[in-house]
């Protein structure tokens, strides 16, 4: 199975100067667990902020999410994959870099996002299809 079949095209962005609280609000409203962080300037690259970052690095340390900027806990650079890459390859990348999300890029544009849950779901579908061509 290819990345294209499991990737999520619903991507939400946030500015690096926004507060972590803004990010939390956006994640709750949109029912998502990560946000892509826009580059600060032309030399900068996209970053990623996840629920995991917020819980472990802010909430668990009793820091105030209203006083911390997204840029302070953004992960960079992102691991990008092509949409025709196999999910086995994506799994290997996730294990190698100990990450739960990869970004799907095409001609230096972000096309989608693949989470570890998507990979699990995709591999289960692939297993169910085996021998049936479904």
């Amino acid at each position: 199975m290819k990345v294209e079949e499991i990737m999520n095209k619903k991507i939400e962005y946030i500015e690096p100067e926004a507060t972590v609280y803004d990010a939390i609000e956006k994640m709750v409203d949109k029912r998502i667990r990560s946000l892509l962080v826009n580059p600060k300037d032309e030399q900068d690259v996209y970053g990623l902020i996840t629920v995991r970052d917020i819980v472990f690095r802010i909430i668990n340390k009793n820091l105030n999410p209203r006083k911390i900027k997204v840029v302070e806990i953004t992960s960079k650079p992102l691991v990008c994959v092509a949409k025709d890459m196999s999910i086995e390859h994506v799994m290997a990348l996730m294990e190698k870099f100990n990450i739960a999300r990869v970004i799907v890029c095409e001609e230096s544009k972000v096309r989608g996002i693949v989470s570890i849950f998507d990979v699990m779901a995709g591999s289960l579908i692939e297993k169910a299809r085996e021998g049936h061509g479904a």
């Binding site: 579908i125 297993k127 299809r129």
Partner: protein, 209 residues
């Protein structure tokens, strides 16, 4: 020999299972055709969906006749009939969605989401067809059933965002809004019905143990 061989191995039973696969095949084709119609904005394909639904009706009647002529033990018949009825309902809503699409002009983003829903529904059909084949074999249905539930969840997610976005869209008149609302409702009901059918297949499978 297991119960399945006793209950599914007879000539009449195999005939019904073959017809159930044929019936499902019509649903798969209808979903694939609807997807192509939406994706390519090709409204000429809509009549093909109606034709497939009519063909499906014929096969459904044959299945019911075969069952009441003695195929399967009586305790299995209601669940098999219910399964066939649900698949037939899915074919009906696919046809309804296709007809409602006739007068709609979808914006690019909505068109992409609707084509994606139709595509996932087609994949769910293929998985359900594979599950019927599993029923007549010895393998477990659980994997297929889980895959269908994963697909259904994806449709739910797309539907949630789509409806949220459409609520902000300006509607020029009542009928335009109603047609769009009915279309989205029917399009997203296909996956719900396939999931229900998959649950019934699981019940049939369990009752054969």
């Amino acid at each position: 020999m297991v119960l399945k061989d006793l209950f599914l191995g007879g000539k009449k039973e195999l005939e019904v299972i073959d017809k159930m696969k044929k019936h499902m095949g019509f649903l798969c084709s209808a979903c694939t055709t609807l997807k192509a119609a939406i994706e390519n904005r090709d409204k000429e394909l809509i009549s093909s969906v109606s034709d497939l639904e009519r063909e499906g009706d014929i096969v459904r009647r044959e299945i019911f006749s075969n069952i009441y002529e003695g195929a399967f033990l009586p305790f299995l018949r209601p669940n098999i009939c219910r399964f066939v009825e649900i698949v037939d309902n899915a074919l009906d809503v696919t046809k309804d969605a296709a007809i409602e699409y006739t007068d709609l002009e979808l914006d690019e983003e909505t068109k992409d989401d609707c084509a994606r829903i139709a595509d996932i529904s087609a994949k769910m059909c293929e998985m359900l067809l594979a599950a019927i084949e599993t029923l007549s074999g010895r393998a477990d249905l659980r994997e297929k059933s889980l895959a269908i539930r994963i697909y259904e969840k994806r449709v739910d997610e797309i539907e949630f965002d789509l409806i949220k976005r459409l609520r902000t869209k300006e509607i020029k008149n009542f009928w335009e809004g109603k047609a769009l609302s009915d279309f989205i409702h029917d399009l997203t009901s296909i996956s719900d019905l396939i999931e229900d059918a998959s649950d019934y297949l699981q019940i049939i499978n369990i009752s054969l143990r």
